[in-house]
Structure formats: C-alpha cells, structure tokens
Amino acid sequence: MIQWKIAPAALLSATLAAGTAVFLAATPLLAQETVKLELWSRQDPSGPLRAGNVVKAAERLNKELEAEGSPKRVEVVVRESPAKGFDDDALQLLKVFGIGEGPDMFIAAHEWICAFQEDGFVLKLDDYIAKYPQHFGTIFPSLWSSAKCPDGTYAIPQDAEARMFFYNKKLLREAGYDDAFIDSMPERTLSGDLTMDEVLDIAKQVVEKTKAQYGVLHRPNKGPDYIMAFNAYGNDFVDPKTGNLLLERDKLAAAFGWFERGVKEGVIPANNTAMEFDALRKEFYTGNAAFWMYGIWDLGSVAFPTYGLPQDEQAFFKDWGWVAGPAAEKGGSPVSLTHPIVYVIAADTKEPELAVRLLGHASAADLNTDHAVTTTHLGIKPEQLEDPRYAEAWPLARATELLKITKFLPNNAQFGELNGIIYAGIQGVEAGRLSAQDAADFVIEEASSGLEDVIVK
C-alpha cells in the first residue's frame, strides 16, 4: 500500500519538477518581446543611410537591451515614400498622421517639424535629450536650433550641408577671365566683394564668348537653394519678435529682380523651372553652363559618380569651384544656407523611450560619418572631424568653411507653403509673366490670403 502511495507521489513530483524546469528554461524566450518601430523615409538617393543607419542602430540597441536584461528587442520597419522632394513628402505624411496611420518615427526637412508639432503629431524631446547625453550631448549646438519649435525641441539633427554656386572654371577661362580672378572668387565672395550682380555679369560673358548655352541654372522645383538668393537681398522671412512670417515688399522685389535680370541678360533660361532636374545637372556638369546654384552633396551623389568630375581635390579645383551666395551689394554679407534633415518621433508611439534610444544610436559618430562621406553631407558631431574618412572627404572640410555664414530656413509651420508661393513667383518672373515688383506683390497677396498671421512691410 505504501508503495502504491509513494509511486504516484514520486511521479507527480517528478512531473512537476520537470514542468517547472521546462517553464523556467522557456521563460526568457516566451517573455522576449519584439517591438516593431516604423520609420517613414523618403526614397532619396542623396541619403539612403538616413534610414539605413536606423536599421543598423537597432542591432546596437538590441545588444544594449540584452546586456541590461531587458526582454524587449527592437525591429525597424522602413516605410518608404516615393515623394519627389521633402515638401511633397511632408504634405503626404501630414495626411497620414491626420488619418491616424502615422509611423513611430520619420525623417523630415527641419522647416516642416513645427507643422507636425502644431497638430500634436510629434514628441517633445527636451527631457530625452537631457537624459541621454551619451547620444546627443555633442551634436553641434547650432544644429539644435533647426530642430526647435516655439515651445521646445521636436527633432534630432541628422545632417547638414552647405549651399553654394558651383562654377565651371574652364568656361570662365574661355570667356577671358584669368586664373588669378577665377581663383580669387571664393575669397572675394566671403569678404562681400563679389556681388550677386557680378555673378550675372560673369555668366553673361560666358554665354556670349563661349559655346556654353546657359549662365546660371537653379533647381526646377520647390526647395531651399533659391531662398539663398532671397537671403542675400535681406529676406529672412520671419519676424524675430513674434516668430510670424514676415514679408518685406522691397526686399522681395530686389531678390526677384535678380532672377528677372538673369533672364533678360540671357543668363538664366526662361524655362529653368520647366526643365528636368537631371537635365539641368547634365547641362552644368558637361560644360554647358557657367554656374549651378545647388549644394555640396551633389558632388558625392551625382557629380563624381555620374559625370566623372575629378575626385582628387587639386584636380577638382583646377577646373571647378564654388562660391558662397554672394552679397547683394559690395561690402554686404554673403550667405549660405544649410538645410538640416532631422529624425522625428511620433507623439503617439507606444515606445518613445526605445525610439529615442534607437535614434540616439543612429546618430552615433561612426554611422553618421558613413552617411556624410558617402553622400557628401556635413556631420553633426565634432568627433566626426577626427575620423580619417571624414578628413579624407575634402569637400566636407571645404564646405564646412561656409558654416560661418550659413542660415537656416525658418522653422515656421507655414514656411513650406510660403516657399511654394515664392517658387511660383520665380516661375512667373522667369517665364516673363510677372515683373519683379509684380512677383513681390503676388507673393504678398497669395501669402496674405492663404496663410495666417503674415506680417507685411
């Protein structure tokens, strides 16, 4: 009888013990939780690692989580948008958020973040940034100003760049300018001696005396570069006291006047805004245009790989060069424009802490340098300057000189829309439909009727 009693008890104990062991062994596996974080990213050949670095960062974060004994693991799901530019992308994403289908994180042009912030779509980051100095502590302070809305920081700078007027030295030489003049242009620009009008004069000489068809070319869609010309004529677009959009009729007319003169002199093509981006680049890099108003990343993304411009610094500067945006008048201030791209986190993400840490790892100096050197964008941290790869990428070092005079687009929620109106004004002027004064009136009328709180002077 005793045996009968012991045997089932032993069997029961053994079963329980085995069950417990199996349960304990399986616990870590069962409890491990995969957190999927969705990242919205525009398909952009000029910065594939913006999203790529976040994917890589997930590996680093997961190791960190494992070391901490956390059961959570992060998986990044990239949702690519086919938008042609950051403006179209932001408009699309605002709709996506509006219908409650927004991602956990997204990549945007900095001037759009306040549009998202205004509708409560994005997470305020000041506390997180303070909490993770190892990730964010060394990011250039100037870049943070591009990530702020009136009540705080809403984004993490991902890169910066410099915008300039590239020029073709061979064409300038053919037009009769000597090397001393050509090589002194960057320095003269920085000292305020070379003016916007002189650029048109030089371009005119090139068009008249060489086979080149065009003098100055600029982007054929809405974007930041041409704002540099408006900055040169004193348009800052924001009232420093109120933060509202500011339009100054005379300064706008002066800037449009530059485009108007360019077309009248036969230097800027009347159909510049109707041409394709690639066609414009081809005209410049194959020697059919004197100047190309664009940005430093174009060297790494297009000029070197597609048009075979020399990658060696000396060889490059023998036939090519760039100047900052010249001053409007002699002795005035030259300009450059940087347009940081930023990482942003959605206000309704379920795992804000993990998203912040993930983007913190994506902002690591080595990963950011991968992006910087492969696409010729400027880095975000001083330690990147010590990376030999960064040092070897001479366009970055040379373009960094322009950061001294650089400006940002205003972080105003309505600037994206205002920029669309300004672009339409440029189209009107170049196509001969508007005079410079008409274009200034057009911008003011359109902005006053379509946007809110616009200050007109």
Partner: protein, 316 residues
C-alpha cells in the same frame, strides 16, 4: 358572390403586378441608382460639407466656417484669370478639334475607300489608345526646347530656323489645346462616322443625280443628319474638358506660372499641392455648378428634349 370573387382575383392580380413592378424596379434600376448615389451624389454632399470646414493639410477639421467662400469671392485674385483661361481652353479645344476636326475626319474618311478610311481613323485613334503618360512623354520629346526636339528638328533642318523654339514657354495654351484636341477629335470622329454610315445611301445618289456637288451634299444631306451627334459630342466634351486636367498636369504642370492652370487643375493645385482641402472643396463646388449650368444651357440650346423624344411613328 361571383362579383366579389372576381373583384378579389382582380385585386390580387393588381397587387401581384405592383409587387412585380417594384421587384423589377429594384432589380433593373437598383444597381444604377446605388452607383449614382455612391459615386455622384454622395461625393457632392461630402464636397459641400468639406467646403464649410477648415480642413487643412493634416485632414483635421477644427471649425465650421464660411471662410472658404469668402476667399473665393473676395481674396482669390487668380480666379478671374483661371476662369478666363478655362473658357479659352474648353472653347478652343471643342471648336477646333473635338467637333470641327472630328467632323472633318469623319467626312473625309467616309468619302474615301473603306480600307484607307479605316486606316486613317485607326491612326487618329492611336492617341486615345495610348496611356496618357506615354502620350505626354511623346509630346514632351516633340516640343523639347533643345535641338533634339522633333518640332525643332523639323523647323531647323527643313525650314532653316536658327535657334530652337521653346513652345512650352512661348505657346503653352496652344500646346494644351492641340495635345488634348488630338485625343478629343477621335471621339467625335467615331460618332460622326457611325452617323454618316447610318444615312440612307439613296439620298446621296439622289443628290448626285440632282447635280449636287460635294459641299452641297455635305451641307444639305450629311450635316442635317448629324445634328444629334454634334449636339451630344458638344455637350459631353464640354463637360469632359471642364473637369479633366491630367494631360495638362503632365505636360506643363499648369505653368509656366499659372498660364495653363485651368479651373479643375487650379482646384487640384490648391487642394493637393498646398493642402488647402476646405478651399479646394469650395472651388470644386463651383465647378459642379458650372458643369450643371453648361449642361442645362446645352440641353436648351440644342433642344435635346426634342431629340430624345420617342419617334411618333414606329418604324419597322
């Protein structure tokens, strides 16, 4: 008793026939009514509702307002120019291509040998059969402002033109009329051809015997028989041109500046390029109203009611 029974049977018969009528109504007209309500009436109601809101770029409504209508009537200075251009575009395309050229194509291709006629009609149908993006790509190549553009190649090599023309900048309105007209002409061509084929041949023989020349035959036999198709094509194509803008968007993007931004494209640019959906809805409502007014005017002008009447004599 017998009378009551008969009455009951009769009533039942009436009831059954009423039920059958209702069933037939649901079966035959139901799907069409559902589709019309879903795709025509509901969107108009939604559009009216949205036009009284401040629906903006993030698709959120924070207030109900008449602000959009104030903008339409008071502050939007582009609108007059846009409406004027739309009139030129619709009237130009219709008058030159969709009706006149369609008619010329139909008359010429039915007056030559059948094989040749079918061939030329086939050629003119090609633009309609091509995908719109491909069709416009061909146009972009044809009018490219460089020496490589087809038009410039012809003008420079055959006519000795010095510098290439940039038609997209210098003649954008003509371009959108021609590119739309090449497609629109084929619809008129087919309908008019069918109508011409339907004219009894003895009328042409009789006219020939009476000594009528080509133009007299067209004037007194062909054109009178085409009154209904011409009226239909005019009204249908007017409405179609008023609301379609895809070819313009692809060819000129509405530019240079606002030069080729017709009303429908203007609505699109306001709503989808600027994110002003509430304002776009208010503008679209006027397009619906304009469309209805044009349709009604056309109806009266062409006396469509009489044309749609049942023939008084049944022809077997």
């Amino acid at each position: 008793m017998a009378t009551i029974a008969d009455e009951l049977i009769e009533r039942r018969g009436h009831a059954a026939s009423a039920t059958r009528r209702r069933t037939n109504f649901v079966i035959f007209l139901g799907p069409a009514i559902v589709l019309t309500v879903l795709f025509f009436i509901v969107p108009v109601i939604i559009d009216i509702a949205v036009s009284f809101t401040d629906l903006g770029r993030s698709l959120r409504i924070t207030a109900f307002t008449t602000e959009q209508y104030e903008k339409v009537f008071r502050t939007d200075r582009r609108l007059t120019q846009v409406i004027g251009l739309t009139f030129v575009y619709v009237f130009g395309t219709l008058a030159i291509f969709n009706v006149t050229f369609g008619l010329i194509l139909a008359i010429t291709t039915t007056s030559i040998r059948n094989v040749s006629g079918s061939f030329f009609r086939g050629v003119w149908l090609l633009p309609r059969m091509s995908p719109s993006v491909l069709y416009i790509l061909l146009w972009l190549w044809a009018v490219s402002p460089t020496e490589a553009g087809l038009v410039n190649q012809i003008l420079m090599q055959a006519f000795g033109l010095d510098a290439p023309l940039d038609l997209l900048t210098s003649a954008p309105i003509a371009l959108i009329i021609i590119s739309n007209g090449f497609i629109g002409a084929s619809m008129g061509m087919i309908i008019f051809t069918a109508a011409i084929r339907g004219i009894p041949e003895q009328l042409f023989y009789a006219a020939a015997v009476d000594g009528a020349g080509t133009f007299a035959t067209i004037r007194f036999i062909t054109l009178p028989a085409l009154r209904w198709p011409i009226s239909f094509v005019t009204i249908y194509q007017t409405l179609s041109l008023l609301v379609s803008f895809e070819y313009i968007l692809l060819l000129t993007k509405g530019g240079p500046f606002y030069d080729t931004t017709v009303y429908a494209l203007y609505v699109y640019r306001r709503a989808f390029e600027s994110g002003q959906y509430g304002y776009g809805a208010a503008l679209a409502l006027f397009l619906i109203v304009i469309g209805m007014v044009v349709a009604l005017i056309g109806w009266r002008f062409f006396d469509m009611e009489r044309l749609l009447q049942r023939p008084r004599i049944e022809v077997h």
